[in-house]
């Protein structure tokens, strides 16, 4: 029998997943079909706020190939209200959230009718035969105006646009002092207001749902990150017995939080298929995706940082307005709250207060987008540290070094009440500065300033940390989240010694099949190739909490490890019997059981491989008395703490002061994510994360006009960067193993996105600070930067706020240059 010698963990294994993806043998939901499959299309409101006065569907019903036209009134009694799993306060105001509007629309893009037809073309054609009359209502778009007295209301019956106010105060919590005291006695006070623009996750695979109602179990295939959560929530929302629903997430083409949702379209496809009794599929267009899939970010951050003249920080006060959009989706209200524990970041603030007010507007709901609450927090604090340094006239790294937690101070309990288990900010920073050539770049910057170069050099720093690996169930409970944060896994030992790993994690591009195979190969001593990872189907993987919040490795893989421990414990009894030894005398290494001290196989000692045991269990002819013929095991792991990856990101930008154009000259990041399972996958996660964080800094924004119409409703207007818009990154790592899990791992999926945005904006501001600029609102478009240089105003407005304003490679007519 083969046994692995070199450990799999730590190897840059090429991914198992690739074989099907590079040859087109994929199972995207939209690739699937069923006998008699029908197609659904959705009519969406063009208005952001209006009463529906009438809907005439008669012409559409007469069109060829049309089986059904359904309105909100038709579904009112069965559609329920879309779930929100995170009521952040006891008095949180939450409107009913119908999947299809019944008598009022609250954002442009909300579903008002659906058509089911023989073909997708016929369904789309029939939408034009539906006539909807609306009475327009005043549109609420601006958060500050929405919470002012006498504001127009999104939901009249709630009596306010404020959904909830959530407060953390270190004085009250006993984790620190009183921030007002710190502010009143401050030697230096930095007050800033930053804007986190609205973003769109823009996963590459448009969402798609197919429902087959013809079996005993109603089966839904969906392009989702959360098949398990979806199943439970469908059952609870629609009052369908849970055991009568099966959810499958086949190949899923990216999510980034955008597919962490129970969507109106999933419910509508379910209801349409059930109504007609035939399989129905809905696949969105890109425009629909940008318009109606949930958005992310969208905060106004009012910040006050107090410090001593020597640079020591003494207090931090955060006052947020967070845009919920028109409804509270699955975790909408909780997203800004995930940031509450991260504004203090790696710094030793003695006093901290966080107040967040969640606000309704007539826009599509916001919800999770890569980082979810933590990028917003990291941006705010890392921008503030640069502002503090500028105020004090010192290098921005100096104020960071002065205030960060020293490596010998771990574990460290922060002013927000979290205990960071491990980290070494000094080591990551030293390595990053060296790779970046920090001192040489500072010297060049000085030289270019002195000679008045029209292209100025800026250096941006982000010494970030984040909390991920969501999450200890008790902590989620204390935050009023409706579910736990555990994960489940099972190991099936097949008679021939091959292994099936069942995981509750639900990959959508990360590479779990490869990474889980590496972990199990080491744990059980079986070859990497002999392992199959099963996921994303509630029938085979019956239990799970799915994939988001950089949780798969730190929670999901830990469940896998625990399940392998149980397999080995069961196998040890049988192996001891086969070796005619006492269980206590048997040890397991490299896939085989041996009698302790009996020497190696080479020296003639007997051994029994785990594959031998699997076959013996299958035969079950000669097992010890009372031993069940079964090695299969399962485990559910609940983490004891979050994981706290950190790193130092350094960005050098060149800013053309005559055009406002920003070019990233170099980007170096040194991340510490603890132990690494597969360096190649980690590198890919970091690259992609950086791209999304940089895109927020420079390119992307969901823009609405004054009537609430999304003007960035295509990929020509919503500027997902292309290859020419991004630089090559230099990535490296330091390694402070996590002390809260046996693998020593931390999350990596969101780190690059969380870290990079402030590094880039700090670099932009640093390039032009000597010209009187202290902030540039994101995205730092050429127009905004140019205006800021000319006027000192960070918000600039004007052309920079238009759709398509951000990307240098797109000209004003929308074409490529």
């Amino acid at each position: 029998m083969t046994a692995t010698v070199e450990p799999e963990v730590g190897r840059s294994r090429r991914r198992k997943e690739d074989a099907r993806l590079i040859t087109g043998r994929t199972r995207w939901t939209d690739n699937l079909t069923l006998p008699g499959l029908l197609h659904m299309a959705i009519l969406r409101s063009p208005l952001a706020h209006a009463r529906i006065t009438s809907i005439d569907t008669s012409a559409a019903k007469d069109m060829p190939g049309v089986l059904a036209v359904v309105t909100g009134a038709d579904l009112a009694d069965e559609q329920g209200s879309l779930p929100c799993a995170w009521p952040i306060t006891a008095d949180m105001k939450s409107p009913g959230a119908p999947s299809m509007a019944v008598d009022q629309v609250n954002f442009a893009g909300e579903a008002v009718a659906l058509v089911v037809a023989r073909s997708a073309y016929e369904a789309a054609d029939a939408l034009e035969g539906i006539d909807v009359d609306y009475d327009e209502l005043p549109v609420v778009l601006d958060m500050a105006a929405a919470v002012a007295d006498g504001a127009d209301l999104v939901h009249e019956d709630l009596g306010t646009n404020s959904s909830a106010t959530w407060i953390f105060d270190s004085g009250e919590a006993g984790t620190g002092g009183d921030v007002e005291q710190a502010i009143s006695s401050a030697e230096v006070l930095i007050e800033r207001t930053f804007r986190q623009q609205r973003l769109i996750p823009a996963f590459m695979e448009p969402r798609s749902v197919m429902v087959d109602p013809t079996g005993e179990q109603l089966t839904m295939w969906s392009s989702t990150q959360v098949p398990h959560i979806l199943r439970v929530m469908l059952a609870m929302t629609l009052s369908v017995p849970e055991h009568k629903i099966r959810v499958i997430a086949p190949d899923v083409g990216g999510g980034f939080g955008g597919k962490l949702q129970v969507t109106p379209e999933e419910v509508l496809t379910f209801l349409a298929a059930r109504r007609i009794g035939k399989p129905v599929k809905w696949t969105e267009s890109r425009s629909e995706s940008l318009l109606a899939g949930h958005h992310g970010r969208d905060q106004i951050q009012k910040l006050t940082l107090s410090a001593k003249r020597d640079g020591t920080v003494t207090g931090l006060k955060v006052e947020l307005l967070a845009d919920m959009g028109a409804y509270l989706r699955l975790v909408t209200p909780g997203v800004p709250i995930l940031g509450a524990f991260m504004f203090n970041a790696i710094y030793k603030f003695p006093a901290y207060r966080f107040v967040c007010t969640n606000v309704f507007t007539n826009k599509v709901p916001t919800d999770a987008y890569r980082g979810a609450g933590r990028p917003e927090a990291t941006f705010a604090i890392e921008r503030l540290m640069d502002e503090l340094a500028a105020e004090l006239g010192v290098d921005p790294m100096e104020v960071r070094e002065k205030n960060w937690i020293k490596h010998e101070e771990f574990p460290f309990t922060t002013v927000a009440g979290l205990t960071y288990d491990s980290g070494n900010y000094e080591a990551a920073t030293d390595k990053a500065k060296e790779l970046f050539g920090y001192d040489a770049l500072r010297a060049e910057q000085k030289e270019r300033r002195e000679k008045g170069d029209p292209v100025q050099l800026g250096i941006g720093i982000s010494t970030f940390t984040e909390m991920c690996g969501l999450a200890p169930s008790r902590v989620l409970g204390s935050l009023s989240y409706a579910a736990g944060g555990w994960e489940h896994a099972a190991i099936r030992m097949l008679p021939t010694g091959k292994v099936e790993v069942v995981t509750g994690s639900s990959p959508h591009g990360q590479g779990h099949e490869t990474a889980w195979s590496q972990i199990v190969a080491d744990q059980l001593g079986v070859p990497f190739e002999d392992i199959e990872v099963l996921h994303g189907d509630t029938q085979s993987s019956h239990k799970g909490m799915d994939t988001y919040g950089s949780r798969s490795l730190t929670v999901g893989a830990m469940a896998v490890v625990q399940a392998t421990d149980k397999v080995k414990a069961k196998a040890a009894k049988i192996a001891a019997h086969m070796l005619e030894a006492s269980e206590d005398d048997v040890e397991f290494a490299s896939g085989s059981f041996r009698v302790k001290g009996a020497g190696t196989e080479a020296s003639g000692a007997k051994s029994v491989s785990i594959q031998d045991v699997a076959l013996a269990v299958f035969a079950a002819h000669d097992l010890p008395d009372g031993v069940e013929p079964n090695l299969d095991s399962e485990a559910t792991f609940d983490p004891e703490n979050f994981s706290f990856p950190h790193g130092t990101h350094l960005c050098a930008t060149e800013v053309d002061t005559e055009t406002g154009r920003v070019t990233i000259r170099s980007y170096v990041c040194v991340d510490d994510i603890g132990k690494v399972i597969n360096p190649l996958i980690v590198e890919g996660q970091v690259h992609g994360g950086l791209a999304q964080g940089i895109a927020q800094a420079l390119f992307e924004e969901a823009v609405h006009d004054e009537s609430g119409t999304l003007t960035t409703g295509t990929l020509a207007d919503y500027l997902v960067p292309s290859a020419v818009d991004l630089p090559s990154f230099v990535t490296d790592r330091t390694e402070s193993p996590s002390t809260t899990n046996v693998l020593g791992v931390k999350g990596v999926g969101e780190a690059g996105t969380i870290a990079s945005t402030p590094a880039v904006v700090n670099a932009v501001v640093d390039a032009v600070r000597h010209l009187g600029v202290s902030d540039v609102q994101m995205p730092c478009t050429p127009m905004r930067v140019w205006q800021a240089i000319r006027t000192g105003r960070p918000d600039a407005g004007g052309l920079g706020a238009e759709a398509g304003g951000g990307l240098g490679s797109i000209d004003s007519s929308g074409g490529a240059r």
Partner: protein, 174 residues
Amino acid sequence: MRITVTVDGTKFTDEVEPRQLLVHYLRERLGKVGTVVGCDTSNCGACTVHLDGQSVKSCSVLAVQADGSEVTTIEGLARDGRLHPVQQAFHDNHALQCGFCTPGMIMQSIDLLADNPDPDEKAVREGLEGNLCRCTGYQNIVRAVRDAAGHMRGGAGPEAERVADASQPVGGGN
């Protein structure tokens, strides 16, 4: 309208609606679902195929325009069970994560290499400008295309493939 198209080496004759897009013809009539639709404004390039040897975005071509032509999709690249060097390079260099953009990205990369067998980083980035990827940040895609270029030079076929060194250091650009 009746059209005859050769797709991945097989000839098909079909009646199609004049308005049907080539990508929908490929996916829905021929079952060539390896080619995918990522947008509706020809920005993303996920649907890229080769039409008579040139890359096209098949969401921007009508099926009737392909009448009499040869179409190659991602499903027609491998020969005798062996991957095309560009497919292999995408695997070797971890140039994909979710893989949704990958078919189009590979087809465009092959077209790019046909025009320029030895592109530098800038040329690769510019050549792939019409194909969006949300996962990788493009760095490993650029690396893969340049790696493939190395393998395809001098008539090197799939036999000449090497598996890239698994212990290559993290980072450091391309």
